[in-house]
Amino acid sequence: MTGTRSILVIGGSSDIGHATALRYAKEGWRVMLAARDFEAARRNADDIGTRSGVETSVQALDVLQTAQLAGFIAALPVLPDSVVCVVGELGDQPRAQTDPELATTIMRTNFEAPSLLLERFAQAFEKRGSGTIVGVSSVAGDRGRASNYYYGAAKAGFSQFLSGLRNRLALAGKVRVITVKPGFVRTKMTAHMKLPAPLTVDPDRVAEDIFRADVTKPRDVIYVARRFQLVMAVICALPEAIFKRMRI
């Protein structure tokens, strides 16, 4: 590939988005960040540009305004080589059970909007004949649990969307789709939670694994931390009759 490669991170104000963009920037990739919170994304872009010396830009984007997604892509300074979507909202599960509006927002933020956006990127990449789509889903989507089933259901939907998209694009072999399933990550989103240390990683680790799966050692589905894959395999193997009585 000639010239500078570029990455677009959707959710560029988040800790994982910041770390991921910085990882690519350290390899000289041009960085574009898109986020609803423009100022927070600007702060991250300045950090990335200062640390790495690469060119950065920031786009305001509210993914829930799905009518604007087509215009957003058309207005980008350049169609990126890789797009990484880290949009997500854990939401307040107990509140969502009595607040349909919140439940709807959680499902739209984690499933509907990212899927609609990435479908458009898939088409633009297909037209160009190259590109990588990285969707950050969650292990929470592997099995529905009492503590976060709106979030988990939406992430399950998103994981299946990515799986299907990958399946569709694999035959032509030009556009790649990567599903990333982080377990516990120390971020603003989880700052209030007590996380089990052996299963918890820093955003830098997620960024490193994404970069590797995209650039140096191509993979389709990755778990971060790796051992979470085993944990989820066990959880998924539990018979429903037993699982439904557990609180994990």
Partner: protein
């Protein structure tokens, strides 16, 4: 990153002594930090927690700056870098050493934040020549306890700027700062090692090399009698391109940071640190050093400036009771007899740190900066039942000589020792009165010392 825990936790400095309860707040933006400051009393900012004692533990609340970890801008023409207060020296060197820039003043660990480095006005091995961290600070923004955010520099709010250098966070919370980086030709240091057979010889070596940029003596605290104060004296300069081509033609000019390869387990057995093991270690250390005597060699910037950073959590070797790092400065004229007396007492006591560090210092940058023209001696002591009485005796020697103790290391000095060492205290108190910081900002250190 520490989670916010408004319900309170036990917090300590790098020495693991003392450990005291405080609320710990973790704002994620400078604006958030200012809001937390405004909402709290008995509050102090905390950077990486590398101050050894109780300087960065709030009397009631502690605001971590770790979320303020973004760099903002760099101007290659002026070498000016603006960063938020929680950015560490390690972050800066990782990003800029490969691009040919260094920091002219670095302390003995790179894991300190910029905010902490300003608040303690930290010094390096070149203080006698180049001054403290404050000298590379162009300006910073300070959140005052009333919520106002003011820019401080040598031309704007100059008194507040000076009092914040070494002011231990007691003037306000530093939100961001603009630093002047040092252009370098390579990331290597050209080092000379000299062996000094006793304290006098070590001081002679340091005095005789005052024009050398970096100088430091590592003293064997277990040596006694005529060998009291035997040292390895390390002298160094940033290697030029020509130095590197001559001494290490195959080396890359700007080597990357070295990563931590070792770490100390949480339950390191304290009995491993005994007189026999320390003596063996020191013997090895000195033989290795002496083998390089009078030869110039290139040393990577990371192990040169930050040797202990290679071992993660090295503070754990002193066990659960923690340790005190004792660092004093003795004015030039009194240094030889007073330091000899201190080393003699320490070597006779026996449980002292195996190594001590001796450095030259120049004048301090602000009224509360630790340095004064003279010699600074640094030693580690595990906390024991008899330690504090012993250190009080060392304090008496320091006071009598007109010296002082470093607040970034302190966990136990008395008010009288502190007050006699810091005549600039009146200036800090004055500023605190003017800004209202005296009723709002308080650390365990400031409460203990009555600042």
């Amino acid at each position: 990153m520490a989670a916010s825990s408004p319900e309170g936790i036990g917090l300590s400095g790098w020495g693991n002594y003392p450990k005291v309860p405080t609320d710990l707040l973790a704002p994620q933006t400078p604006a958030g930090a200012r809001d937390q400051l405004l909402a709290r009393t008995g509050v102090i900012a905390r950077g990486a927690g590398r101050a050894y004692g109780d300087a960065a533990i709030g009397a009631q609340s502690t605001i971590s700056s770790r979320g303020l970890n973004r760099m903002r801008s760099f101007d290659a023409a002026t070498a000016q870098l603006t960063v938020e207060a929680g950015v560490t020296i390690a972050d800066i060197l990782a990003a800029f050493e490969p691009r040919g820039f260094f920091l002219q003043v670095v302390p003995g660990t790179k894991f300190v934040t910029v905010g902490g480095a300003i608040a303690a006005d930290v010094h390096g091995k070149n203080h006698h020549r180049d001054g403290g961290f404050g000298t590379i600070v162009e300006s910073f923004r300070l959140a005052l306890p009333g919520g106002e955010i003011v820019t401080c520099s040598r031309s704007e709010n100059a008194a507040l700027f000076a009092a914040t250098l070494g002011g231990m966070g007691l003037t306000g919370m530093i939100l961001d700062a603009t630093l002047r980086l040092l252009p370098i030709e390579t990331g290597w240091l050209r080092q000379d090692t000299r062996v000094a057979s006793n304290l006098d010889a070590a001081i002679d070596q340091l005095e005789g090399s005052a024009s050398t940029t970096y100088s430091v003596a590592w003293i064997d605290c277990l040596a006694r009698g005529t060998a009291l104060g035997r040292s390895l004296v390390y002298l160094a300069e940033h290697a030029t391109r020509r130095d590197k081509d001559r001494l290490g033609p195959d080396l890359e000019p700007f080597p990357r940071p070295r990563y931590q390869r070792l770490s100390v387990p949480e339950l390191f057995p304290g009995w491993l640190l005994n007189r026999a093991s320390m003596r063996a270690f020191n013997e090895l250390y000195f033989r290795r050093g002496a083998a390089h005597q009078d030869e110039q060699r290139l040393v990577h910037w990371d192990p040169y400036f930050f040797p202990l950073d290679a071992i993660a959590d090295w503070n754990r070797i002193y066990g659960r009771r923690g340790f005190v790092q004792y660092q004093c400065v003795i004015p030039q004229g009194r240094a030889r007899p007073v330091l000899a007396e201190m080393l003699d007492r320490v070597s006779r006591r026996g449980d002292a740190s195996f190594l001590a560090v001796l450095k030259q210092l120049g004048e301090g940058g602000g009224p509360m900066s630790f340095p004064l023209r003279g010699y600074t001696l640094t030693m580690d002591f595990p906390v024991t039942a008899t330690l504090f009485a012993f250190l009080d005796q060392l304090d008496a020697l320091v006071v009598e000589a007109g010296g002082r103790l470093y607040l970034a290391k302190d966990a136990r000095q008395s008010r009288t020792t502190f007050e006699s060492g810091y005549p600039g205290l009146a200036v800090l108190r004055d500023i605190r009165q003017q800004t209202g910081a005296n009723t709002r900002l308080a650390s365990h250190l400031s409460a203990r010392l009555g600042i």
